[in-house]
Symmetry: C2
Subunit: 243 residues, 2 copies
């Protein structure tokens, strides 16, 4: 854990980086206790508030956790898929909403990624995952369902599809992407979408997965992508000439 590798400003950022590097390099291992704030103050020759600001930066990235009391302190955190996933969703959501990503671009990326795990899912999906998808389809066909509930069920359906691949790395990457794009999707297709059409395609996906037919899963996903993009184009068209 060396001391100052950066340009001269923002001590707390420098210290955070030094500790971060130590964690990434393996110099500090999971569940290892960092020196106390007082000791870090001495080591880095800064005050305790500065050290604390550095530690809070690391805590925000889930790199450490802190515990109060005797034998408490800051500990290197084992980053869980949940941690990584929720961080990715936050970041990706803002990234998309702040950078004027076109619906088409987001949609293309989303379905490209989803189709990537369709073959694996066709091979490996469990009965449980299939049941989840069926249950979500059932929810989606309930008459009184709000738009919000329909969308969240939509996300759950696709999440089950992705989880079917049985690869936690894929699930982490894809679920983050799908969820981050959902607000963008919803905003455009909220009013225009036909639930029947979507439910029909969901059913085709579920049936294809049940029969473990990769090609049919892929075909249904392609249709869903085309339908979604067509929808968005229609909505855009209407916005241009609202007469």
């Amino acid at each position: 854990m060396k001391n100052e590798p950066q340009k001269p400003s923002d001590l707390s950022a420098q210290i955070a980086q030094a500790i971060r590097d130590a964690i990434i390099s393996g110099e500090l291992i999971v569940d290892e206790r960092l020196p106390s704030e007082a000791e870090l103050s001495d080591q880095f020759q800064v005050s305790r508030p500065t050290v604390r600001e550095a530690l809070k930066r690391l805590a925000a990235q889930s790199l450490i956790r802190t515990q109060r009391g005797a034998s408490g302190g800051a500990f290197v955190n084992r980053i869980s898929f949940e941690d990584a996933y929720s961080q990715q969703v936050t970041t990706s959501t803002l990234l998309l909403s702040m950078n004027a990503i076109s619906f088409d671009t987001a949609c293309e990326a989303r379905f490209a990624l989803e189709r990537a795990c369709a073959p694996l899912s066709a091979q490996r999906r469990t009965a449980d995952q299939l049941a989840t998808m069926r249950a979500e389809i059932f929810r989606q066909s309930q008459p009184g369902l709000t738009d919000e509930a329909f969308c969240s069920s939509d996300v759950a359906f696709h999440r089950a599809l992705v989880d079917g691949a049985g690869n936690p790395v894929l699930s982490y990457q894809l679920a983050g992407a799908v969820e981050a794009m959902q607000p963008l999707m919803n905003m455009i297709t909220f009013t225009a979408r036909s639930r029947e059409e979507i439910i029909g395609l969901h059913n085709r996906i579920a049936n294809a997965l049940e029969a473990r037919e990769e090609a049919k899963v892929d075909a249904a996903l392609v249709e869903l992508e085309n339908y979604t993009r067509r929808l968005a184009q229609d909505v855009a068209q209407q916005h241009r000439k609202p007469a």
Copy 2:
């Protein structure tokens, strides 16, 4: 920007969450200036150090940036692809190294994702991107190249492939994944890999992209995946019986 929606501890985390929510909801927009630290202290009824810890948490996520001096302050940051990308690499790298992800799992995910953008890349790759890939292949075939340099060239090659899809969202997602997995890849294949074999496959990929033949790109990627996984199995075998 409401005040306390959480359980009673870690004020700085609560305040950070409140501001984070305000940014995500759009209540605070890009480049908008937050109240000064003193004003936030008043609003949230906490001391300035506590406010500062909250702001540092947000800065660690690239949600805000700060500027000193008169008319300085904390501003809502427009998250760039670079920000999101580097954060994702850090998180994903640690996620993989801390959770005993098997090489096979990581490898499967990586190539599944990469194959997802191969068709798009075949359609859209620019002459420039193709030239980048050729240049990296050339580097890889230089005799005196260190293992580290070979690996970083490998990453650059695949990055160009991904960028060829012309979809920044895909590039962001994929490049993060590929780069995060590279250390894991290298660790296992460093000594055992045959550069000739890999360069041959890279050439096949580049040729297929030049001819815009999706199927051939995919086939070459599948072969590269199989080769890589076979390699890893061999290495694992040797470790078990080192005689």
